[in-house]
Symmetry: C2
Subunit: 465 residues, 2 copies
């Protein structure tokens, strides 16, 4: 799969250069003017080439409930979500494909799927997601979502004594599932990675975190988790540990330069210093944080402290899309209201770097991915700059990040393999996918969640509502 | 142009109904099951019909600078904008068409264009916008942007004595231009409306506001203005009037039930009460307010106080798009972080009502537009619910508002005339428009604004940066 893109715009310092880019054996082999065409030639005229972005946090099966979840904060939203979660692997397969397609068509070439496991079919769920992502051709980081406490334990007790049902599966059994998945599927060279990914301090014991650390060290796995998404979790950490969640995770050794943490909304300055010191990565999910009313993550502070930040869409039930360009736009401009000094605001070029190199950094792959550099893997996206949504011609990266680009991805390659050509995904049949998603769903309006009914009064009391 | 849409989903109470909708002579004539087809028949199966939305505040010619403006707060951004504003009517024509197309393709059937006038060609600018909107077929509310003070007067003086160049055109001459435009073009029955639209208290004398009130009363015109977009304007109002801008506008009589005010970010509780009492309308431009770091408008407070709220894209240089669905989504979910009680959050159905009936209300047309009601004008949009971005099937309005719908407008009608069919604008040639926008522009990176260089030091001082 060798190819050469001719006369394409790439970012160069504070401007653009028109160059040829040659890819040989899945790697960027040369970037220069007037290269001889090796392999297939692509016309890059009026097109922009960028490194593929990372959709660095999502939950693919939430696609089945997008558009219908109540306007709730996380804790109630989660109760409703789980009451209606899909329980068959065919649905898992289709929503993983859908997540891949929407990510690819918005500039992403990698996805971190914090994958919700079907109880009793945990291993099959992981195997299904692996199959879907391999078929789609997107680079996959599958982070099976695990916990060992029941959902009600995720809400602070407040003044009240609370008891919770024990979780239905033992910590040891959970860790065994992950280890088996690693043995069978973890194959970075083939674009499939397994991550350890306890859901977060709100639903996990230290034993689970420690088991994950042990697996991560033994198999060289990246680590993922949610972190301090809501005010309720901030309270809960104090109840549980008598310190912040960040302090606790540092103490038990979960934070590292291959740890990505989704949300990070409610961190104080000392926490931010710990994030920097441990070289942990923040995955910013701006749309989800707004939709669930979680708050505005202090992204400008992270950047000033030297914390690596990248973007995620989060699951499609709290977004309710998988469009990375939308997440990048809102995740950039949202923070302008948090700091009156515009010299600290995120520029479009910085946003692109956060979405590409920032993601690669968090997944410990900055030497292989995240920029258009000779020697790196060819995870590349070619944007058509003649689309109405990117006209008139001004600054291509500014238009892409700050506008609302529609149908602008002309081509995409993962590891040098073409996944999108002429604006269409080439690896799977998207019309068939649409038909399947249509057939397996129906128009619905409001549903009644039993779990929400059970916990809402307690939630309102403890949160002072 | 009579037609009947068969078997289409419409919103009905808290659910959906499948109905036929008959349009005769530009008006909705019947809504029921199993109507006889009158005129052209349209298949509404797997489609959702909604009233057309209002893009209730924009500046069309800003399209020429989208994607390239520096990340600046309003006052500096405006200085840069004006240094590079397009100065020929052909560009005005093309950007008005572009604004119409993007609005239509995102569910809008009406646009309020706070139109920047080319100095010395003011009347021609207005005539050009009228021509473009008539050709596109969108319902147009042209609000020529006028001022009678120079741009430096828009920044608070602080402790410093400041003098400003007099504005190049007299207040009387400006009002004459507006009156002539009203005489020639104001024709609501043909879908063209002229509004009085001083840019805002920051650049207008009371004489200009009072002249506009007089024209508004004499010709029955709606009134438009920017209001308290930035912290700087809040300071400036105190310097200028010794009271808030809202108190001052009430005192001089500008606020009314046909006054729409863009932004309204920095209002206090007493101001909000005045907005409710005068039945003024807030036009919320969430993307622009984030992009320029203006702040988060207190939209939930407006709703609780009974103030009518609708949405705008604002000009494409501060957004940088004209996609109403994006503005509606962000303008809904953004406010969840301002109030921890989710019972106050905006639901997708409420957002749709704000974008349709809210716009009609603000323009004093709620008896004629803004809902699917027998007797109202047929400004209607038909959405294709089989698009991947709206699948799997869940709650159609939830998907449309909270997702990122792409290519979902199947058909649109304004006053019963079809403007979009099969997803394509039928009134103008969009490929030709693209080509013209392409030909008249070039890839640019950073530019150097002389005006910004002149005012930045003062701005930073007075704003305490």
């Amino acid at each position: 799969m060798n190819f050469t893109i001719q006369n394409v715009l790439i970012a160069a310092d504070d401007a653009y250069a028109t160059v040829d880019v040659r890819v040989v054996d899945g790697k960027i082999a040369a970037i220069a003017s007037n290269l001889d065409v090796v392999g297939t030639g692509f016309d890059g005229k009026n097109k922009l080439l960028l490194p593929g972005f990372f959709n660095a946090h999502t939950h693919s099966s939430e696609m089945w409930q997008r558009g219908i979840m109540s306007v709730f904060p996380l804790e109630l939203w989660l109760a409703e979500l789980y009451d209606f979660a899909p329980l068959d692997t065919e649905k898992v397969y289709l929503s993983a494909l859908g997540t891949a397609v929407e990510t690819l068509l918005s500039g992403g070439t990698s996805v971190v799927d914090h994958l919700v496991l079907i109880p009793g079919q945990e291993f099959e769920t992981i195997a299904t997601a692996v199959r879907a992502y391999k078929e789609a051709g997107i680079r996959a980081f599958i982070a099976p979502l695990i916990q060992d406490e029941s959902i009600t334990a995720g809400i602070p007790s407040g003044e009240l004594a609370q008891t919770h049902e024990p979780y239905f599966r033992s910590t040891a059994a959970t860790l065994e599932i992950i280890e088996e998945a690693v043995r069978q599927f973890h194959c970075p060279d083939e674009g499939v990675n397994i991550l350890v990914a306890p859901t977060g301090i709100q639903l996990c014991t230290d034993a689970l975190f420690e088991g994950c650390i042990e697996l991560s060290d033994r198999y060289n796995l990246c680590r993922h988790s949610h972190l301090l998404e809501t005010r309720a979790q901030e309270k809960l950490a104090q109840e549980k540990y008598g310190c912040t969640a960040v302090e606790h995770l540092k103490r038990i050794g979960y934070l590292s330069d291959r740890t990505t943490l989704a949300h990070c909304v409610h961190l104080n300055d000392a926490d931010i210093a710990i994030m920097a010191e441990t070289q942990s990565t923040v995955v910013h999910n701006p749309l989800s944080n707004l939709r669930l009313g979680s708050g505005i993550a202090p992204i400008l502070k992270y950047r000033q402290a030297g914390v690596n930040v990248t973007f995620g869409c989060d699951g499609a039930s709290s977004n309710d899309s998988q469009d990375l360009l939308e997440a990048i736009k809102i995740g950039s401009i949202l923070h302008n209201v948090t700091d009156s000094d515009y010299q600290n605001w995120i520029t479009p070029r910085q946003a692109v770097e956060m979405a590409s190199l920032g993601g690669a950094n968090g997944l410990n792959l900055a030497d292989k991915l995240g920029s258009i550099t000779v020697g790196k893997q060819a995870d590349l996206v070619l944007y058509d700059l003649t689309n109405l949504s990117l006209l008139p011609r001004t600054d291509p990266i500014g238009l892409l990040v700050l506008g609302r680009p529609t149908n602008v991805v002309d081509s995409a390659w993962v590891n040098g393999k073409q996944i999108i050509a002429d604006g269409k995904v080439t690896t799977i049949n998207v019309d068939d996918l649409r038909q399947e998603l249509f057939n397996r769903s129906q128009w619905e309006t409001k549903r009644k969640s039993q779990s929400v009914a059970q916990i809402e009064t307690h939630y309102r009391t403890v949160m002072g509502l």
